[in-house]
């Protein structure tokens, strides 16, 4: 008997985007959506110019400015001359090549991975790339979305295609209901802790199971955003009713062709009998509020859990860098800075949830607490809903949108060996702007708990029992 083998979403979308298979075994793949920002694009436009080439499909590339934009006063010219030079280059390049640029004047500026979905540019069944590793975020919609380097940005600009190798697909299934104080961020930190920072190399991660089905789109984005931190260049969730509802009516979502679009999006879902290269299962109940202790996202533990015995050289080095010499767990570690924002957790639902839990609390006097909305839209809506007011009253500084302290290319930086509890995605040494600065990754609600306590705290204790995630569970 012949075993019938279905296809994964990855296979289906990959196959319908192949232009041809190249001599070296890679595929030449058409890219449906190309996103660019100021850090990784100027050199690519430069390379294009050098070769006398033009952008092949200018209508399929969209730009914004996010990494270097100041979040206190984003008015040009920027005080930092180098930042100004970068943004000026983006204006020039997008104008020169007829590319739509969502600049601050458009009221649509924001972190590229926040505005893509917001505008409905990100759609299921598309190939999406950007010179930025967290492009995996867009996979939440059932797109194949991945980061590329600058030479590849050049390739996409010039040809709207890439030479790229097909990945294997690992399904990561999370069944059950997430517990109190457990958010998409905790889920992905748990997965990375279990599978390692390079466990996903060579794979696309397909996230599924009832816990994922229950997640709202913004929680799914948090999940896929960090697939790359586990080594998987792509993370995705099969599109479903929630995906369609999110997209309906968005500026760039199909309108007249809505039904046709829905049919395509439904058709690309992984078949029930799809053939996966690997399958890993987790029980939702097992996942607890999780945070990092070290200098990569897999160096993670549950809140309150004892720190591991530092055996390897790299663990010892990480513990030393983080000043963990005489602590047994992360609970109670004093905090200098609290940062809520980034393409991982800087969306409206994140801010809304933080506002919900911090009502009646005050940021501890020792802590500098920053909230940086992921986009102008998020900022405007947070203002309109009264969320920003609640946050300000609690002692948070609510700033203008951008990447900000996620990687501190703008003026928001750690000083010396300050410790920052952060809702971002990377805790690499020196990531937040000081070569000895320390980053502890966690969910926005856990950041808030630390901000009001002045030290790392269990959000379930800081904000009371029965803390339910309002956007991850049903």
């Amino acid at each position: 008997m012949v075993k019938r083998m279905g296809k994964t979403l990855y296979q289906k979308v990959w196959e319908n985007h192949i232009v041809k298979t190249l001599q070296d075994g890679r595929d030449q793949v058409f890219i449906g959506l190309h996103l660019v920002h100021e850090v990784t694009s100027p050199q690519a436009f430069g390379m294009l110019k050098e070769k006398g080439l033009r952008v092949k499909y200018p209508g399929r590339t969209f730009a914004t400015v996010d990494h270097i934009i100041p979040t206190d006063d984003p008015v040009r010219p920027f005080q930092d001359a180098k930042a100004e030079e970068m943004v000026a280059a983006l204006y020039e390049n997008t104008q020169d090549h007829d590319i739509k640029f969502f600049d601050p004047a458009s009221n649509k500026q924001g972190i590229i991975h926040v505005i893509g979905p917001e505008l409905g540019l990100t759609q299921p069944g598309m190939t999406i790339c950007c010179g930025d590793s967290h492009t995996s975020t867009h996979g939440a919609f059932g797109a194949l979305a991945f980061g590329i380097g600058t030479s590849q940005v050049r390739d996409v600009l010039a040809t709207q295609t890439l030479a790229i190798k097909r990945l294997k697909v690992r399904r990561i299934e999370i069944e059950g209901v997430l517990g109190d104080g457990v958010y998409a961020k905790d889920v992905i930190l748990h997965v990375i802790r279990q599978l390692g920072v390079h466990g996903g190399v060579g794979f696309a991660y397909e996230f599924g199971g009832s816990a994922i089905d229950s997640m709202e789109m913004e929680a799914r984005m948090t999940l896929c955003n960090m697939a790359i931190e586990g080594g998987a260049r792509i993370g995705y969730v099969n599109p479903d009713q929630k995906t369609f509802e999110y997209l309906k009516g968005r500026a760039y979502a199909p309108d007249e062709k809505w039904e046709e679009a829905k049919a395509y999006w439904t058709g690309i879902q992984s078949d029930p009998d799809a053939d996966y290269d690997d399958l890993v299962r987790f029980e939702a109940e097992v996942i607890k509020p999780t945070l990092t202790w070290g200098v990569n996202p897999a160096q993670a533990i549950e809140i309150g859990e004892a720190l591991p015995v530092m055996e390897s050289e790299s663990a010892k080095d990480a513990a030393k860098y983080m000043h963990l010499g005489d602590v047994d767990s992360m609970l109670g570690v004093p905090v200098d800075v609290a940062f809520i924002g980034s393409c991982t957790n800087g969306r409206l639902s994140d801010l809304r949830e933080v506002a919900r839990v911090v009502q009646g609390h005050k940021v501890h006097e020792r802590v500098r607490a920053l909230i940086v909305p992921g986009s102008m839209k998020v900022a405007l809506e947070a203002e309109a809903e009264g969320i920003s007011k609640v946050l300000r009253n609690a002692g948070f500084e609510v700033r203008q949108p951008g990447c900000s302290m996620c990687l501190a290319m703008n003026p928001d930086k750690l000083v010396g060996d300050e410790l920052c509890v952060s809702s971002s995605n990377r805790n690499f040494k020196g990531r937040q702007g000081s070569s000895s600065g320390r980053t502890v990754l966690m969910s926005p609600v856990m950041v808030a708990a630390a901000a009001v306590t002045g030290a790392i705290a269990d959000p379930r204790e800081a904000f009371g029992k029965g803390l339910r995630c309002s956007y991850g569970n049903e």
Binding site: V19, T40, A89, S151, Y252, N296, E313, L407
Partner: protein, 200 residues
């Protein structure tokens, strides 16, 4: 197109440690540039210099390894960002090849597109190569792309080069742009058959 080649040779330098990420290779504050021209000085900056700019002990600062062309590294080298600044800094410091236990995928792709060859070898092999250059810093390391062998100081070891990377270097076609451009009409045809081509 670049020249086809079967070998890469250079003196080595060993950077110990696993998971050396792109932020360590080029700290984010050095990404503020519109060209890649001035990146070479930023390579491993925070590992090489203290906050006052004084040199720390680091293999790249060690004069014995000046002019090395082959980097020896550990596991998951180049994880983190997809920015090409890290491979660009490596290339602009004169490195032609990296021999490591494993590489982050985007990083390896970026290196290939720049003509920096990524080769994987076992941990014992890298340890032996590292010991060799420690004793004899001027010894050359030779990577045979065709046979997938790396040799130094008279000893030869097996190594692995990703098949498409190997093919690209052997044909001198590590930069894919010309190949991609030549598919012009087929690209348009692929786009036209995509359901979403007519939606906006």
């Amino acid at each position: 197109m670049a020249m086809s080649e079967t070998k890469r040779v250079g003196r080595g330098v060993f950077i110990p440690g696993n998971n050396l990420d792109t932020d360590q290779i080029t700290p984010a504050r050095y990404l503020k540039c519109v060209t890649f021209d001035e990146l070479s000085g930023t390579l491993f900056y925070d590992e090489r210099f203290d906050s006052d700019g004084n040199e720390k002990e680091h293999p790249i600062n060690d004069p014995r390894f000046n002019g090395a062309g082959v980097l020896l590294v550990g596991k998951n080298f180049g994880c983190g960002s997809s920015r090409e600044h890290a491979p660009q800094a490596i290339k602009r410091c004169g490195f032609k090849a990296i021999v490591g236990e494993s590489f982050a995928e985007i990083f390896q792709g970026n290196c290939t597109a720049l003509g920096v060859l990524c080769v994987t070898a076992s941990q014992p092999t890298i340890e032996k190569l590292a010991k060799g250059i420690e004793m004899a810093p001027s010894a050359e390391i030779e990577i045979d792309i065709e046979t997938q062998r790396v040799s130094s100081l008279g000893a030869e070891y097996k190594c692995r080069i990703d098949s498409s990377v190997r093919d690209a270097f052997l044909r001198g076609a590590w930069d894919p742009l010309d190949t991609l451009l030549s598919a012009g009409a087929e690209i348009d045809a692929t786009f036209k058959q995509l359901p979403y081509s007519g939606w906006v």
